[in-house]
Subunit: 299 residues, 6 copies
């Protein structure tokens, strides 16, 4: 269960409105790596964490912090939109380059749909969606996704930092940049901790190594021009997992045969000339179909 | 430019059709971490790479390999669908539990839309989309996303490996698992190489540390019950970036004031009682609006 | 079955083209509360209405009217785009602030994709989709959704009314505003009629009151700072349904235990330390799994 | 800012796992009217509320409660999935109707993607998205949307209540049904309060009545067969807003002319025979184009 | 403007309910080539048609017919769902293979969301969206899209025809198949008519032939193994447009240089080693940037 | 399997950057008919082609070419963005109309998300998705879709050609226009070849003519005002398939009865007055339900 405190985690007061920037900030609310993504990603990871204790607790700490980040940026957007043009059309723009820029650069839905506030979408108005989040239950794989999300988020925040010179906006972004730095370190530290606790290794998941084809777990397949890709750390020496030796496959040949699909079911009306032989009967489990043979075997 | 060889990178021959499994395999084609995602992610990273040479080359190698993985799994799906029920309805199911299971578990669009082949969608039929890919131009941030993608991909492949006992399917998945292992090691090695080459550090981007609020770049904000989250590596000691000291903020208080949006533009018809004072005039840049003042200052 | 008359329900003639406004009007075609939504919402409600007669007839009347509204606004958009810049690039804009505004504010797909006409998308180019519509079969719940849709639609239309001073556009919007007023009244009246006819009550659905926990059907849980939320009509006195007494729960405590998920199936490779005990066997319905016990009980 | 308590708002313990039902419950997490929608809808309404005090406070109370509802149902889903089949394929189903049903009815992504936990999607696996939420800044319009959302939510919960006989699941749903009842009453009471406070009327927004065409604000246009739609409350008498008189337009005729778009810009290559006259020059604002005339007038 | 008649265009009465088939039929309502697509595609083409007369009229005829097709199939879906299982869970399925199949194969949202009726989505529950429609204003290009849509639609209808043996369903589909046949012929005839009227040629649009590089308008680039693709009609002889000669390019070489992007703006934090030289200054139009030079040239 | 050559298929060098045009070009990357669509459409058609030989080979040739087209345009976009404004806000625009236009017209995600490169989205920032592609297995239906895609693609390219006067951009587009011309001819020729080979006819699929209602396979239903639609080739004479006679149905009447859905299951809480009789019991297959009768009949 959650509780709310009406003070913001950090101040979110622009010195001056800037409706064009208000659109850009939407990326940090509803973009693929915005605050909404990390909020829901960490909440679902926390709720799905199978170990009560330090990991689950820490994930819930950060998740709960992130809801407050959405709140901060949503408030900032509303303030950046104060006094934005709600009434004018192209005609007015012809005498005023500021208005021309603002009319062009604004998100029209912030006015028409949200009444001068934020929407739950990115800088191009595409709504946030639930496929952005990663919560697989494998903490190593998920923490790697978390490092990646915080890294992308900090790159975007850094870019946005340079797109304004408003002292109030920059004040808030200085806080956000710092949290993104901490959170990158946090998830990297948590990966170390998983190893130290003997819960995970380097490769996720730490399983099926004996099933997979080891000879294919080490080579870079050189499939583009030249061999410059042989010059990197990835083309030789011990792999980061401490187990595999890395190698370079200079001139790889396909290992499989031609990728021909089977003869089609005639009742699906795929174009066919019979060159692959007679198709299996379409009815499931009757005389000659393969699934029919399974069924018979089961009986 | 690309060229195609009609042999598959690796064999993709199921021993027997299994239309229910054919639906599950869609996750590896069109899921958020399926082969389509890594294909397009690496292609766009490669095309956007600003350094001719080993990095760009290597990225294009792997990208080109991944198109062939989509091809392998697409072929496998078509073969798993051979002889699947194209004609029967509920009535037939009442006498046949195999058909009952298959009718229920199949992806109906594989038959109706694709004529017995794969669709470009995930295991629930949701189409793949371009927001799944990550290509920011910052190679450190992108390689972290690549590790994460390969980790999630291998977790999903491992789960799918256990969901079949078909020797032919497992044969292909043993290859895929191995490539996912190599690719995780590859991107981890590439992160080491970026540091060794002096191109990036630990935190992405390696910039703006002097602008961000350092005091907020180190603390875990304890926002959920208890203090078990203080027990982890992330709550003390040197951060993985070798620069910051990590710490635990046991009882954090908000640093900002209440998140009140400004008085609304009356022509947007937000409900308002005047308690925040008189709203700025809505027209942009005229007398009293804040943006108006900017414009005047510029003049 | 439907028939079409080639006259518009109401005039849609702008005095002058305005390609920036043409983009904004897209919200009324393909936005979440645009004419397309009410068209399809009412059609599906009508087709799914289980009572031949006045309700079904009325719903189909309004649904059929709304198709004509999409037509009116689509025509208006095409006319607003007449003579819009189809050829120029940034270079031309540098000498002409009108063009600067127009180039920036236009929807590029109206030109590139639709050849100077409307698209089936909102003001940010996001396509309309079928999840916007509400047609549950419960007329009370659906009519409440209809009031809400007409209210949001009229709010948006009112905002758009202020964003133009073109007499022809305003002429059409005066008609639309009036229809939105009537339709709000219509659906409110229809809710009264449902009650008068004894078909529904105040709360949707009018069922399961004896099953739900009555003590939880009356209290506001105070989960944010302060107690100002106790001052409203919702915190005491008789509820609008005439049955419940409303109340204020000043300091609510959670009623459930910790939200711990069960021990994971090992073949799904979730990170786990055994702290929740031994996981159930993953195989469905075999010896020790819980679903297995169900099956046995059934046998 | 938010804080988290690790106890659930209400108990979420199924008596027995039921993976088929776990898929259906996804509708209450990530469906258009699931808990995620009301959570984000109320948060954005609260953050965008322009009046500190009882309304904003109450909205934040309910919003904060709803995050806890997502948590409860997410936990329930994980528990319903305990022991679900993670390994079997069609072959096994042929001997076991339970497994046949479960294999067919499960959400494959709950296993493959989430490792035996919930996803942020609906019962068909479609991800939740930000266009589901309504937060226009007009509280009357938004509260009507809130009543509608709670009504649809309670209808869906009631349906789901009948789809299980598990005492633990029903226990939780009894709580949810009760909260949905209270919340419907709450938003209806809040609409009364808005009127009592003189902030809003019956029709949203309470503006532009003098601009809209009054004669069109009262009539039902009879556009489908018969005149049964004249028999309802909406076809005569005073409207719910207490201002308009409702009426029935038995045989409506279109009020506009034919909906002909203007002659096309030749450089957009629309098919055209010249029957509408010579098209305007495509260049913006040059000699003969209409926008050109605007520009000249401005000069 | 439109009018509605309450009789269906054709009968839609299944002999018996079949809830599994009801899900499959959703493809014909809300799939990419379902009735909703052709309805909205033809409506937008008609509204955007720049020639009053036979073309516009005919497009509106077919568009108006298609709304009635959505109506027919929506009605059929509701009837197929009669008596479908609204209450049972996995437990009941264990004793009943029919229920097992039905529970697995049903669309859960038809019950939970639509109350036993159709949804505006496809067979996998993915909602219909506005990007499915094609309405470019170029009638040749659009009529080709119409032939394609009717062809895909008839292929899908034919597949669905074989998936049922219900005489009532087949009765309706016999009508739909026939209309799809007529509509394919219709759009092919309309393409002939466009040519006969001198409005369009074979290639859309019939323009810019003198601008495009003629030598590249005739050759098949052989980019995959072997030369079997040289054996087709497309590799030699006169092209269908009667103008070009077709040819086979056996061993094509790239015509461009390496695809290297320019040096990056340092404030966007792309990883970079300086190998492409010094990046242009990021500020727009100031001293050394290229856009700056344009601006100067304009001045 | 695929291989990559680092030279572009054709040169992609703009003379000057133009960030506004860079946004428009996104339509050719990630729009519904952009290069990404044809790439994936042809790949899936090729992988799903059931006839080794000239068709499959040719499809793979073109598919492989199209990946290279995505590459060309992605490179062009990065180059058009060189020196684009990465730092400025509204304030700067007030003194500079070029910047005003550019700020307004740019895609903010090209900077914030992609670091000055392309995104996998269209000109409005909507991501490309897998439902854009058509690969039904019926080659006639698919080739018709391919002609349509190339026609729409060439129309869009032609429009974009007129939106720039940059010689380098036009150089590349002259190549693209030519390939679109060839590809339209190619797919038209391939349709001829399918007929010549006796694999398909004119209508797709070439089946079920004896099942469909022939009398409905020939008439235009006149459902809109007037009879001008009788004047076209489609209203009389032999149909393009050489079999049917086309005709005009001047005053069509509905052939079906009213579209009334069945009485609702009471446990789904649809509003109902009993006018349709007693609903079937909701439990599947038990005593009185219709599906129950099927089950009994099967037994």
């Amino acid at each position: 269960m959650f509780r709310h405190t009406d003070h913001l985690q950090f101040q979110a007061k622009p010195e001056k409105p800037d409706p064009v920037y208000a659109r850009k900030l939407q990326e940090l609310i509803g973009g693929a790596f915005g605050e909404m993504t990390v909020t829901m990603q960490y909440l679902f990871q926390g709720w799905n964490c199978r170990m009560p204790g330090k990991y689950k607790d820490m994930i819930m700490d950060v998740a709960t912090e992130e809801i407050g980040h959405v709140e901060m940026i949503a408030t900032m957007v509303a303030r950046l939109l104060e006094g934005a043009p709600a009434t004018e059309s192209t005609r007015a723009a012809s005498a005023d380059p500021v208005m021309a820029a603002v009319l062009g650069g604004m998100d029209p839905q912030q006015a028409i749909v949200a009444g001068g506030g934020p929407v739950l979408a990115d800088a191009n108005g595409m709504p946030w969606n639930g496929r952005y989040i990663v919560a697989s239950g494998n903490l190593l794989a998920d923490f790697r996704a978390n490092v990646a999300a915080e890294a992308q988020g900090r790159v975007q925040t850094a870019r946005l930092y340079n797109m304004t010179d408003d002292p109030g906006v920059r004040d808030m972004l200085r806080f956000n940049l710092a949290r993104d730095t901490y959170h990158q370190n946090l998830w990297l530290a948590a990966i170390e901790e998983l190893k130290a606790d003997g819960l995970e290794g380097t490769v996720a998941p730490d399983a099926l190594f004996d099933e997979e084809y080891t000879e294919h777990a080490s080579q870079l397949w050189n499939l583009s021009d030249g061999t410059k890709s042989a010059e990197g750390r990835w083309a030789g020496g011990q792999a980061p997992d401490g187990v595999h030796e890395m190698a370079f496959l200079a001139d790889p040949a396909p290992l499989g045969g031609p990728g021909v699909p089977p003869p089609p079911d005639p009742l699906l009306y795929a174009t066919y000339d019979g060159s692959l032989g007679k198709p299996a009967k379409p009815e499931l489990g009757t005389e000659t179909g393969v699934v029919g043979k399974i069924k018979k075997a089961m009986e």
